[in-house]
């Protein structure tokens, strides 16, 4: 039942409060408007980054303060604003709506709902530009953020509070890694924020569908400024997302924020700067494009226990052209972040997915946050893979190989196969420990070539179904004892031996869909 009287009283109350005294406002006049940029004469006391109100209720952002005029970019209404319109200063900077209500929602960079669901109740707001935590406010990164991707969690571990760049050409699976990581945070008590900057609305719709289907939207908020949104909105999108992340971080929560992607963000900023007639530098980017990203990524942090111990883990994405990581924006962001995951289209096309180039990818701080068991086992992995790659290059020239070399090569291939992982299939830490143990043991030589992926999937199912006790005995935070190692290998051996009986091909345990496809795809080549 709607209480009409209550609504009436409410309105009367609001009108009474709205009757303010004569307000004193500073105003200016638009003397130029074009391409979403306006020039204003007057507005003598406006501050940098101040939010302006244009006649008609439109918003603008003051960015150039000059002697006789103010340059600003319009956040809305670039078509409606006219010469001579009055512009008022507001004394505020841009604020983003924050709060638990935003989880599960798709919002624009000002916190307005875009998903057609009910209005988001007006609650707390935070300034989108906020100083990063100081040195004393920070703590060491000491807790892992599991991506569920074996290649990353074993060799390029990410810790909570770290900034790890995902870099690669278009169509190499950059977003897939980020989305997989979000999906893997289910039941991990990590809040995820996906910031889409200048992306196609169609690809964003696909990602949303994936997140919804997997039930990941419960702990995720999507902040988006798609390619057709006003350039200034694309520019503020990552800062808005970060403001929301900070809200949760200062409440002691762990937050994962994905910026997809920062190259588009830099392009948006370049557009604005050129239209504002700021001097341009290398690749026509303005002089402060480094600061643009450094001040954003500095806000990712692990807070000290005194401040609640929350964290923001940032996964910025940067797109390269033809694998050129020495271009301007990639080098900038590489130097800001604590490591990068480098994806290669060559690897991607040859079927190594995720297409992580292990040699060029690093994680500068995540190692200390890695789970003890994984650290113990994966230590040798990187070295082995490097040896294999070195050998593989030489072998391209030679033909006669001794048995030892052949063994190293075949193991290398199988190790690479172990690291292959279909999208949306996340491994738990225990899964990873089992797979890594098997890949480093002599057992791997028994598995027929090109069948490793199918065997791995089958082995994990077999182990969960028939030897749950061994599986449960694995403690990710302790080193794997020799006894446990033997037990795990015994189970694996049991599985491999009885599966090989079936004409050495199909493992007889039902496979998950992704793995079955892999097996199917590999079969014709094997013939």
């Amino acid at each position: 039942m709607i209480d009409v009287n209550a609504i009436g009283n409410d309105i009367r109350d609001k009108i009474a409060r709205a009757r303010v005294s004569i307000d004193e406002r500073v105003c200016g006049k638009i003397v130029y408007s074009g391409d979403g940029v306006i020039r204003i004469s007057g507005l003598h006391d406006v501050k940098y980054n101040e939010l302006l109100e244009v006649h008609g209720g439109y918003r603008a952002l003051a960015l150039n303060l000059e002697e006789s005029s103010v340059g600003a970019v319009l956040l809305s209404g670039s078509e409606e604003v006219r010469y001579g319109d009055l512009v008022y200063s507001t004394g505020e900077t841009v604020h983003m709506r924050v709060g638990e209500a935003l989880l599960g929602r798709v919002v624009d960079p000002l916190g307005q709902a875009l998903d057609g669901m009910e209005e988001i109740a007006a609650g707390e707001t935070r300034p989108i530009e906020f100083p990063a935590p100081s040195i004393m406010d920070r703590d060491k990164v000491n807790k892992p953020l599991q991506t569920g991707i074996l290649a990353i969690d074993s060799m390029i571990p990410i810790g909570r509070g770290q900034r790890e760049l995902i870099i690669g050409d278009r169509q190499t699976g950059k977003t897939a890694i980020a989305v997989d990581t979000i999906l893997n945070q289910k039941n991990e008590d990590v809040i995820c924020i996906y910031v889409s900057i200048g992306q196609k609305a169609s690809s964003l719709a696909k990602i949303l569908q994936t997140l919804r289907n997997a039930g990941a939207m419960e702990y995720t908020c999507v902040v988006c400024a798609t390619a057709d949104d006003a350039v200034p909105l694309q520019y503020i999108a990552p800062y808005s997302g970060c403001a929301l992340a900070e809200y949760f971080m200062y409440k002691g929560k762990d937050v994962l924020i994905v910026y997809d992607d920062l190259s588009k963000h830099a392009v948006a900023y370049r557009t604005m700067s050129l239209l504002l007639k700021r001097p341009s530098g290398r690749e026509a980017y303005p002089g402060d494009v480094f600061y643009l990203h450094s001040r954003l990524l500095e806000r990712a942090a692990k807070l000290s226990p005194a401040l609640g111990g929350g964290s923001i883990t940032a996964l910025p994405i940067v797109e390269t052209l033809a694998g050129d990581i020495s271009a301007y924006i990639p080098t900038n962001v590489i130097s800001i972040t604590d490591g990068q995951i480098y994806l290669e289209s060559e690897l991607f096309n040859s079927g190594v997915r995720p297409a992580v180039n292990v040699g060029l990818s690093v994680s500068r701080v995540g190692g200390s946050a890695q789970r003890a068991a994984i650290r113990q086992i994966s230590g040798q992995l990187r070295v082995n893979l490097a040896q294999y790659r070195e050998l593989a290059i030489f072998v391209q020239f030679g033909s006669d190989l001794d048995a030892e070399t052949q063994k190293t090569l075949s193991r290398g291939v199988k190790m690479t196969d172990t690291l292959k992982q279909p999208q949306y299939l996340n491994y738990s830490v225990r899964d990873m420990i089992v797979l890594l143990l098997v890949s480093e043991s002599d057992l791997i030589d028994k598995i027929p070539p090109k069948k490793v992926t199918a065997y791995n999937a089958g082995l994990l199912d077999y182990m969960r179904a028939n030897h749950a006790d061994v599986f449960e005995a694995i403690d990710p935070d302790k080193k794997v004892s020799e006894e446990l190692r033997q037990k795990i290998l015994a189970v694996a051996d049991e599985y491999v031996s009885c599966s090989i009986g079936d004409d050495g091909a199909e493992p007889h345990v039902d496979l998950p869909v992704g793995a079955a496809e892999e097996a199917g795809a590999a079969a014709p080549e094997a013939e």
Partner: protein
């Protein structure tokens, strides 16, 4: 600001005002350091007065108040 400089206040009214009101406006404007007043009549503001001195606007128009009420309800 030099004292000899002429500072004009732009005063917008909805209709011709009484002598008493104009006197009050002049007083207000002088207290803000103005020595010249230009009056305009704009029925679109519905009522009240808007005074502009340099970049600063003192908006006491009925139109703006209605707008504020509309936005807050």
């Amino acid at each position: 600001m030099k004292s000899s400089e002429k500072v004009t206040a732009k005063v917008t009214l909805a209709m011709r005002a009484e002598e008493d009101t104009l006197h009050k406006i002049a007083e207000f404007v002088e207290s803000r350091g103005c020595n010249n007043i230009r009056y305009t009549i704009d029925p679109a503001i519905l009522g009240g007065v808007i005074i502009q001195i340099g970049d600063t606007i003192y908006d006491g128009s009925v139109r703006t108040r209605l707008e504020t009420v509309r936005r807050s309800v």
